[in-house]
């Protein structure tokens, strides 16, 4: 029977409990947002004792459904001041599912300067002192934990940034090789974990059992058919598999929507050198790994291994958004430099999008030149040392703008924009502006219909139709995030009319329900409503749902477009 684990850091105690009625039937983002919404005072300080940090596996977590092992992390965000859910791959989602633990709620705050680790097994959850891990990066942290806990466990850890409670800090989840390469990156969830004095969670699934399915046969049939849709779709079987998410560099560059040098132009002259195609070529040549899954049960396998010329591990394949943030957006055209920066971000435990954007703003401020890769590495290293400059960088894009007098700061609700310029991809601009998460492409990936011709086509340069596009995707995404599915299953789901039905069949077969596709959409809308309500109680109104003014004033080359979706359409997007 699925349970919740409540971890109280005031008293250093843990307690398994039955899933409270209001949280029953919820997983992933639906569960984290429900807990945060119900249990966190919206006006509290995000790194104070009144915030809560929630981990949740998805509704399909721990099952044999392909790509169902995502893990959600939720809290009030130190970066946005609003509600936050950030989800990640890695092994921990599946492991929690295999322990039949739907969620972990971490509350309270220990004595300042005390560090703990939480060891979760089938029959127990223990908090133990972890002062020996204090101040370590994620890579060193997992090395030490591996020595003690072996190779069958997974880890959720924070690096120096989370330990210092900096707003750009991530929570790292270990991958299949126990490396801390998968991150709940956005919104400073690592800072909240640090504020709880929690350096690491170790999840040992060895004595666990997979969840009991209400109808194993029906589940198996649906899972098989669902997997077939994934392996049939060219994006999830070829594009992502061969080139990683970085397949998008050339596509966005051609579309004129690749934000370059702090969103000053939509085309990067060095794009080819940092593209997915080049990434694949370098990897093949050097003997790295192409087509590697970040979690068990992944059949898309977009996560390769980047090695140096000597064939030695450098980092996991940097994601498209990471390559973009440190590459085009900083004017850097060298994948070796970008892979090093990616490794450093993973080690320090900071969001690559937020920090790459922050670096670009530092470049605009004149701290270093656009394109200065060695300079970027040197400055980023200060995050690991927690110098004042490092703290500013790790506090995010808005902080760098504030401290260095830059007005062109690409953030919404304090969170940096990702890798798609909203002037050339207007549907994603609507998502950036209106999602309760702050600027976030994963909250409603309108790039699909704007650029990729998946799930229909909406002209990316026209203002109209974008609000409807974003709205539908935001609702669907909230549901996908609640199931624990990797967002990339959206490609087959959007293109094959029956694919969603298989997800619904799996949910029904898992829980003995009779949901319809409409019920799933209803869940997505319910999640958004909870999140919007939290933000409203935290002090936001709809005037927060705006892009920075420079997107409305500065036309973006090559299309010479500004962001011109009317405010009224932004306001209507999530008006339910």
């Amino acid at each position: 029977m699925a349970r919740m684990l409540r971890v109280n850091m005031d008293d250093i105690i843990t307690k398994f409990e039955e899933i409270p009625e209001p949280y029953q039937g919820l997983g992933g983002r639906a569960l984290t947002s429900a807990v945060v919404s119900a249990e966190v005072e919206p006006t509290c300080n995000p790194i104070g004792p009144m915030n809560k940090l929630v981990f949740a596996t998805g509704l399909l977590g721990g099952t044999n459904c392909a790509n169902s092992g995502r893990i959600s992390v939720g809290a009030k965000s130190p970066l946005t001041g609003g509600i936050k859910e950030s989800n990640s791959g890695g092994m921990s989602g599946a492991h929690l599912g295999q322990l039949d633990i739907m969620g972990i709620i971490v509350e309270g705050q220990p004595e300042a300067g005390k560090w703990y680790k939480l060891i979760v097994k089938a029959g127990s959850a223990e908090l133990e002192p972890a002062d020996d891990l204090a101040g370590l990066g994620n890579y060193d942290t997992v090395e030490k934990l591996k020595e003690q806990y072996g190779e069958k466990v997974s880890f959720a850890t924070i690096g120096q940034a989370g330990g210092a409670m900096l707003s750009g800090a991530s929570v790292a989840f270990s991958d299949r090789e126990q490396r801390p390469t998968r991150h709940a990156g956005r919104g400073g969830m690592g800072a909240v974990m640090g504020s709880k004095g929690l350096k690491a969670i170790v999840i040992d699934p060895s004595e666990g059992k997979r969840p009991v399915l209400a109808d194993p046969e029906a589940f198996k049939a649906a899972a098989k058919q669902f997997a077939k849709y994934i392996t049939d779709h060219p994006v999830t079987s070829e594009g992502l598999t061969n080139y990683g998410t970085n397949v998008l560099i050339n596509i966005l560059n051609e579309a004129g929507g690749l934000p370059t040098r702090n969103f000053s132009v939509g085309h990067f002259e060095g794009a080819e050198k940092v593209s997915g195609e080049t990434l694949n070529e370098i990897t093949q040549k050097r003997g790295g790994t192409v087509a590697h899954g970040c979690m068990a049960g992944c059949i898309i396998r977009c996560s390769g291994i980047y090695v140096n010329e000597g064939g030695k591990y450098v980092s996991k394949w940097p994601e498209y958004e990471t390559v973009w943030a440190w590459g085009p957006n900083c004017g850097i055209d060298d994948l070796d430099v970008i892979a090093d920066l990616d490794y450093m971000c993973d080690d320090f435990g900071i969001d690559t999008i937020e920090t790459g954007c922050a670096m670009a703003v530092a470049m605009e401020a004149g701290l270093l030149e656009f394109g200065d890769g060695p300079g970027a590495k040197k400055l980023l290293a200060e995050v690991g040392e927690l110098t004042p400059m490092g703290r500013i960088l790790a506090s995010g894009t808005k902080a760098v703008g504030q401290m260095f007098g830059v007005a062109r700061v690409p953030v919404v609700k304090g969170q940096s924009l990702p890798a798609y310029d909203p002037r050339a991809v207007k549907g994603i601009g609507v998502t950036y502006a209106t999602t309760p998460m702050g600027a976030d492409h994963t909250a409603g990936y309108s790039v699909s219909a704007n650029i990729l011709s998946v799930g229909g086509e909406v002209d990316p340069l026209k203002p109209h139709g974008q609000s409807e596009l974003s709205r539908g995707l935001q609702i669907a995404t909230a549901a996908v995030d609640s199931a624990g599915l990797c967002l990339f299953v959206a490609f087959p789901v959007l293109d094959y009319p029956d694919a969603l039905g298989e997800v619904v069949k799996m949910l029904n077969a898992r829980f003995g329900l009779e949901l319809t596709g409409d019920d799933v959409a209803g869940l997505g809308q319910k999640v958004l409503e909870m999140e919007l309500d939290f933000n409203q109680r935290a002090g936001f109104n709809k005037a927060m749902d705006r892009l920075p003014d420079f997107f409305k004033r500065e036309p973006l080359r090559p299309h010479s477009e500004v962001f011109d979706v009317p405010d009224e359409e932004l306001d209507a997007t999530l008006q339910f």
Copy 2:
């Protein structure tokens, strides 16, 4: 005939214009807030080209009315994200009045790195290059300007902090000795001035004429009677005159409402050593100046001159809030250290309240010990050098909390709380929470009835009655701030029933009007309504009108009180 001066920094041109109809009859805060409200897009970046910086003299500015020379500075605040009016003493308010210039609107933005000064005379307003002043502190800036423009002019300048567009930066106004000691300190108005490339404004009243009065005789009679109320009242003729605003240290300490060591206790064991009484004694002994006015026409004269043991100028008498911010709030009990810190803040051009609070948070973070005066001076010196640490400090209390992982951050809407603990002086807590300005004691000084028994008595420890008290004072203050009157005239106005009538008579005699006392209150309410509306359009709702959570959780010794004014009463305070 009163005019406005419009200064366009895009094109480096100035233009005198008739006062536009919607701004007619407005002065001071009413005028700045009207312009910001009408002309600034509320969601713009505060240091970008769409913000405007507005200077305004009061309705009685330039007249012979006592204490009528305040100058207001308004803009969208980089610190709060909302509308801001911050006003100051010094000579510029009267000088603008003598030139019959009601306001200066600075708009646009020049090429980055270019600096200008604005020279305002009776017949002209010229922008001139000021690259030679770039990077200078306020004291060096005015030294250079004095060489060129002589001793009859006044200055509005920014120091290093404003030049770097840091959110805690002030605008300095020169006093009667042309020292840059009077500041529009709160909310980062200096950062906005810096973002306009405007290093200094030089105001030369020599060819100006005092405003033409509609009824000179009536004005003279009312002004005389008004002055008598001021010289009759013990606070404005004795308390403030002899001890400066720092007369409040012992009073607040005795009331248990003197926030000590970052608002952790309400009583400071070193209070006597930094009190107004000690300030007077040291000043007398060393040959400094007691009873000095910061502006012409001041008959309260709360601003003394602090000298060192050799009798040499150190700083103007630090205000109560300055002594508190650097003294009790940082655990420092040495007036010599505090005077040095005050000088440094004036020179760098930063708000003493914001920066002292920021230092206390840095102390709580463990960067230095509470009480470490030399350490505080050393760290503050980094503001002048614009190191990363200096930039964090000069960005304010919230920034220090964010970068150094402190959850006990005493701010409302991003602006630090001043020198009265809201748990022991609950009326001022209502003002902190609800004023559109962010935490600001001057917006509705409930300390009057809570502690000083001026204008009635309201038990400072009881939650009820505080909302009504704050509401009335906020309305009255908005009107006072619009007249250009020093806020301290509120003491006689609150205690002598007929004093307000003399102000109304002066306004009528100045402009040929037939206003009543109710009209003046109506003006105050109108100002607040404009400001609240701007903030709402900037993205705030009433949930922003809250004190930090720790004031509701941590009882304050010695009274063991938490802040317990109900949220509903906060919300009702400015519900018109």
